[in-house]
Amino acid sequence: MLDSLPDETLARRAQRGDSAAFDVLVVRHAPALLKFVRQTYPESSDCDDIVQETFIAAWKALPTFAFRSKFRTWLYSLASRKTIDALRRRRPQNDLDSVPEAIDVRPGPGQRAEHAAFLAALHRELDSLPYPARAAWWLREVYDLPLAEIATVLHTTEGSVRGLLQRTRKRLATTLEEFRP
């Protein structure tokens, strides 16, 4: 029965300490959350830990969660904070302006040869974006989140998200122009 309950009901139960309801939320959201973290954090070996810390933070903060945003949006905002914390720990002198290593999002074998050069360039460009721009790009263009939700996830304003997306689009359109079909 728990499996069929919506996030908000499960979250309310988890607020009162129902660990079985929380476990359903973990099973429901962990795979997508891991994917999001992997797309925005360079070392895949750390991503499982970031996801675990995100859920622990969610459990701790649930009693004060007021349901002003969707539970999923709130979870992504916690994951975003945990990712930023991990990036800061990883590169204490840097300002999160770039991520040197490749992000682990691999194309399948059949597509690899055909798109290798473009995908490598796309990888490179996405990797070099500052964290907020990279996260905003994925959340908007792949996860299809509205600007308001992205703003909640990234703890910023809709205007800032719009600006980030605009600058990212301009930059990608310029740097990847040679691959334009």
Binding site: Q52, R106, L122, L126, P146
Partner: protein
């Protein structure tokens, strides 16, 4: 896999908020100029998704997910919830809202099941340390013809809840009890 989105004026306009026309035009122009890259990113993510779906570590029974679940379960078991205390009819005796919600959920499970329903949640509202409202969230199970209406079954469950409350916290509970049918779960053939 998703198909590419069209960056039409109306679509972008929805996200535009308080933008001026010039800013909106610029936003739209950049969206259009990068639409093919966005589509490629989605294809790219789709391929990665296929990979990760194929990765048994992250299947529902996969080892990584199992490990994550058990790690989280272990950590949160050390972080129990603090309940809000509710006054009872007997001076000096209080009951935690966590315990009372559990008691109601458990006590209503059987009568709910007997009318093809399940208790999804019991929410308690507490005002000045007294229970002021109880919201019972119900789910209908199956689409078979019912002997009574949802309203009648909801009323019966409200009466059951009132009985449990009287037993648990005493006769002076004036909490308003509401029953809400949130959803209907239809099990496949």
């Amino acid at each position: 896999m998703r198909t590419a989105r069209l960056y039409s004026g109306s679509h972008v306009g929805k996200t535009g908020g308080h933008m001026s026309t010039a800013a909106e035009d610029d936003y739209e122009a950049t969206a259009e100029s990068a639409a093919w890259i966005a589509a490629a990113t989605r294809r790219f993510a789709g391929l990665a998704e296929a990979d990760s779906d194929a990765d048994p570590r992250w299947a529902e029974t996969g080892s990584a997910l199992s490990q994550l679940r058990s790690g989280i379960a272990q950590r949160i078991s050390a972080l129990p919830r603090q309940g809000t205390l509710i006054r009872t009819a007997r001076p000096g005796i209080k009951v935690s809202h966590v315990a009372l919600a559990k008691l109601l959920t458990s006590a209503l499970a059987e009568p709910a099941a007997s009318v093809a329903a399940a208790v999804a949640d019991v929410q308690l509202t507490i005002t000045d340390r007294a229970l002021s409202a109880v919201h019972i969230h119900l789910i209908g199970i199956g689409a078979d013809e019912r002997d009574r209406t949802y309203i009648q079954d909801g009323d019966a469950l409200r009466a059951d809840a009132a009985h449990v409350l009287r037993e648990a916290i005493g006769d002076d509970s004036s909490a308003e009890i509401t029953a809400v049918w949130d959803d209907l779960v239809v099990v496949g053939p």
